[in-house]
């Protein structure tokens, strides 16, 4: 399974990077979204995979009993999901505003505006 996930993560990264390198401003956003997914999965897989043992203390027990899925990467990813949503939401609105203001979706044409 790690092998499969590694391929999926690699594929998502490749797609994200290809998309980020495009000139279209919408593709940039797609790249950003894909990059978020790929990174969350990377952290998840790198932390070690444990099938179907969520880190929840059972009724009557005082602590988690192994094996359990590592709660720490999960906490990190939970934060990351929310933050990347914030970034994507902001970028989307910024992109829309930039398009309205500059009148182009081509990033190469936008570079003239900060000179």
């Amino acid at each position: 399974m790690e092998l499969l996930l590694a391929i999926v993560i690699g594929g998502l990264y490749a797609a994200a990077i290809y998309s980020l390198l495009r000139r279209s401003i919408v593709k940039l956003v797609i790249g950003l979204i894909l990059l978020g997914h790929a990174t969350n999965l990377l952290i998840f897989t790198a932390g070690g995979l444990t099938r179907a043992r969520p880190p929840i203390v059972a009724e009557g027990a005082l602590a988690l009993t192994p094996p359990y899925a590592d709660p720490l990467p999960q906490a990190l990813i939970l934060t990351a999901i929310v933050i990347s949503f914030g970034v994507v939401a902001f970028t989307l609105v910024l992109v829309k505003r930039a398009y309205k203001t500059v009148g182009t979706e081509d990033l190469d044409d936008m570079r003239g505006t900060d000179r």
């Binding site: 594929g11 990377l42 995979l49 027990a61 398009y99």
Partner: protein
């Protein structure tokens, strides 16, 4: 306490100066002069203790972990310099009030010059080398501000920058030297290092440390080939030239050499390098002075020459030389400060500094003429002025130099002959002969303008007649600090009829002869203009231009304004760096150890990869949004499979929101167009695939590499008992790492404000 107060009172007054100046108006200079005067009197009060060898100390911890202490001590050398700094400082403050009378930024000027004075006192009183370095750089900084005081002028700005780059660059070399010396000697305290000198000179790092120290001292004291910043610094108002660029700041390098002599001196390297630099500077400064016609430039080049003499004497390193150096230090500060102030007064009254258009001023400006004449006589080394004693001692020291004495003496005589001529051109020529038309109708300078030069010139005469006043109280303790041995000094005018006296007479006569032949040499120098490509100032300009050109070129290359090239640079650099981390540490696990993927998991993975391809290449915006949704939900399903229900719930919620938002926004944007050519698509695809492959390899390597012990066990153990929560992920977020979650919420809030602002923003 007192020592620190002498320094920090100056800084305090510097801060208050602009405000006080508004209250005091024309009297500011006179009032401010009380501070350096008080400092001078306070410090002079310690001369008995200092002479008895009891150094006065004060120390405060500053950055103890780095060995930086604000430690000060007052010994003979410090006292001599500190008295020159504060004494001349008082006169300069009065002088500046007259010279810049009515200038709109006079308050600021006082602020800068007081900051300089305080920093310079810090340099000569500091015991800790790092504290010395900080004060040292502060003097460079205040010199920069003062040279560029007339900041509307292009010349002033570039001269200020030149001085800053050279002295500041030398300062950095000094810092490196200090750190080397600190690591060799085990302390940054000068007084501690002086006790461990044998170890330092034997150490392999001695030579690098010495070279760095010398670089710092030579740049500051305008030694060849760094001498050219000093004439450039004449763009400063004259009080600055008199104070910083003749009497005090440029002597900081000399001070450093004298101070470090017991620690770094005495070796063959020291002897040859310092002697060579000093002798070369002495000659070059004198030769360059001769063809000048501007009063300040004449004085600037002769200052370079004088600094060369001081450095040369410290290089020779005998007791005689140290004696000559300390006496000449006083001599030069007095006459040169006086001549500079006189030049400023003449400039102020007549409107010109060109010696060719000045003459006969003695009748109009008798007091200024008196000061100029006395100072010039001291500069020529005429008895009974202090300059005479200084020159005798210098000749004596050169005569007894351990190596190449005839050569050093020969160069010294040439330099001194020219200095006699310069003294005559500057101090005598403008006042005698016929009156000439000047831009302004001249008057006698006001009291504030002649008090300083006359005081200093008179001091030169007084001390020449009664050298005993300073011989044993000031000069011999200073020599003692350089030589680290007991010195009894007898200064007197008459040494009997000997070779040195004959040399002095010859020097003065030859100087007067040269004075009358000066126009011939001026023409000769005019013809040598073609050789100007040899001068270091041209190298400096070329170096600076080259640096600027390089900066522009690399900015054009790296800051090209294309987002995708920035990203490409980042990706390639990341790949390069990660590649080493992937290859270097061992630990590739065989693939059999991995859990076998189930068929529906394989189906999910394939679906996600296909969706990624669709998101990339679909021409329809809606299809791309759906593909992104597929990937997002796919991630959520993976979370479900591997025991992360919280992540799955969050992911599904967020993904839904994201897709909706995406569709809403993209609806307003144009359809996808093919903007890039096939070649760049191919290049990007290659980079993307390489990066993806690297990340795959990283995942495989990371899954079986445990670099640090996991801390998850702590959360698993204590989630229920300490935080009373069964869902460990939630407990981490809201309890163990609650502050991080607060940060996350803040980020979201900021993003929300940003989104709101962008939506509501009404642009014209």
């Amino acid at each position: 306490m007192g020592l620190a107060a002498t320094i920090f009172s100056g800084f305090l007054l510097a801060i208050l100066a602009p405000f006080l100046h508004r209250l005091l108006r024309g009297k500011t200079g006179w009032v401010f002069a009380l501070l350096p005067l008080a400092i001078a009197i306070y410090l002079a009060g310690f001369h008995r203790e200092v002479r008895a060898g009891e150094a006065l100390r004060a120390a405060y911890e500053w950055v103890p972990t780095l060995g930086i202490r604000l430690s000060f001590y007052l010994d003979g050398l410090s006292l001599l310099f500190a008295l020159l700094i504060s004494g001349i400082g008082a006169l300069v403050l009065i002088y500046a009030g007259g010279y810049l009378h009515g200038h709109a930024q006079l308050g600021r000027f006082y602020s800068y010059i007081l900051m300089f004075m305080a920093s310079m006192l810090g340099v000569v009183l500091a015991d800790n080398l790092l504290a010395l370095f900080i004060f040292w750089e502060l003097t460079s900084l205040s010199s920069y501000l003062l040279i560029g005081f007339n900041h509307e002028k292009e010349d002033s700005r570039s001269a200020a920058l030149q001085a800053l780059l050279i002295t500041g660059g030398g300062g950095l070399a000094l810092l490196a030297g200090i750190i080397l010396l600190g690591s060799v000697g085990g302390s940054y305290e000068i007084s501690a290092l002086a006790n461990a000198d044998g170890v330092i000179r034997e150490h392999p790092l001695y030579l690098p440390a010495l070279l760095l120290f010398l670089l710092g001292a030579f740049t500051k004291s305008a030694q060849a080939p760094f001498h050219f910043w000093l004439p450039g610094a004449m763009a400063a108002p004259t009080p600055v030239s008199a104070y910083l660029h003749s009497a005090t700041m440029v002597k900081a390098g000399v001070y450093l050499l004298a101070r470090m002599n017991p620690i770094l001196g005495g070796s063959a390297e020291w002897h040859y390098l310092v002697t060579l630099a000093g002798a070369a500077t002495m000659l070059i400064g004198a030769l360059l002075a001769l063809p000048q016609t501007d009063l300040k430039r004449l004085l600037a080049y002769s200052t370079v020459s004088a600094l060369g003499i001081l450095v040369l004497l410290l290089g020779i390193g005998t007791a005689e030389a140290a004696k000559a150096a300390m006496v000449f230090l006083v001599v030069h500060s007095l006459y040169k400060g006086s001549l500079f102030m006189m030049a400023g007064a003449v400039d102020h009254e007549t409107g010109t500094r060109d010696v060719q258009s000045l003459g006969g001023l003695v009748k109009i400006m008798p007091v200024t003429a008196l000061a100029a004449g006395l100072a010039a006589l001291s500069m020529t080394g005429f008895p009974p002025l202090l300059g005479f004693i200084g020159k005798e001692l210098i000749y004596e020291a050169k005569l007894q130099a351990p190596t190449a004495a005839p050569l050093i003496l020969g160069i010294g005589v040439i330099a001194n002959i020219i200095n006699v001529t310069v003294a005559a051109i500057v101090g005598i020529r403008p006042f005698v002969g016929d009156k000439r038309a000047t831009p302004r109708k001249p008057h006698e300078a006001p009291l504030s303008l002649w008090l300083g030069p006359l005081t200093m010139a008179a001091a030169g005469l007084l001390l020449g007649l009664f050298p005993g006043l300073i011989a044993n109280s000031l000069v011999s303790p200073a020599i003692q600090a350089i030589r680290a041995e007991e010195i009894v000094l007898k200064l007197k005018l008459w040494h009997g009829l000997n070779f040195v006296l004959l040399l002095s007479v010859f020097t003065v006569l030859a100087g007067i002869a040269l004075f009358f032949a000066r126009n011939f040499f001026r023409r000769l120098a005019g013809r040598a203009q073609g050789l100007s490509f040899l001068t270091p100032s041209v190298w400096y300009q070329k170096g600076l231009d080259g640096l600027m050109g390089f900066a522009r070129a690399q900015t054009r290359l790296l800051q090209n304004g294309y987002l995708r090239y920035y990203l490409l640079t980042i990706f390639l650099a990341t790949m390069l760096l990660v590649f080493f981390k992937l290859v270097l540490p061992p630990g590739w696990q065989s693939l059999e150890k991995f859990a076998v993927a189930r068929y529906y998991e394989i189906g999910l993975g394939v679906a996600m990869l296909l969706a990624a391809l669709v998101a990339l290449f679909s021409r329809s915006r809606l299809t791309a949004a759906i593909a992104l949704g597929v990937i997002g939900y796919g991630v959520a399903v993976i979370f479900v499979f591997y025991g992360a229900p919280d992540l799955a719930i969050t992911q599904i919620l967020i993904e839904t929101l994201s897709v909706i938002l995406f569709v809403l926004v993209v609806y307003h944007l144009p359809a996808f167009n093919r903007l890039s050519g096939s070649r760049s698509r191919l290049r990007d695809a290659l980079v993307a695939l390489l990066f993806g492959g690297m990340m795959s390899a990283l995942v495989l390597k990371a899954t079986n590499l445990q670099l640090h012990p996991t801390i998850s066990g702590y959360f698993a153990e204590n989630s229920l008992s300490l935080a009373h929560g069964r869902n460990v992920v939630n407990v981490i977020l809201v309890d163990f790492r609650a502050l991080d979650t607060l940060g996350e919420i803040t980020v979201l809030a900021v993003a929300a404000v940003g989104v709101f602002a962008l939506l509501k923003l009404k642009l014209k």
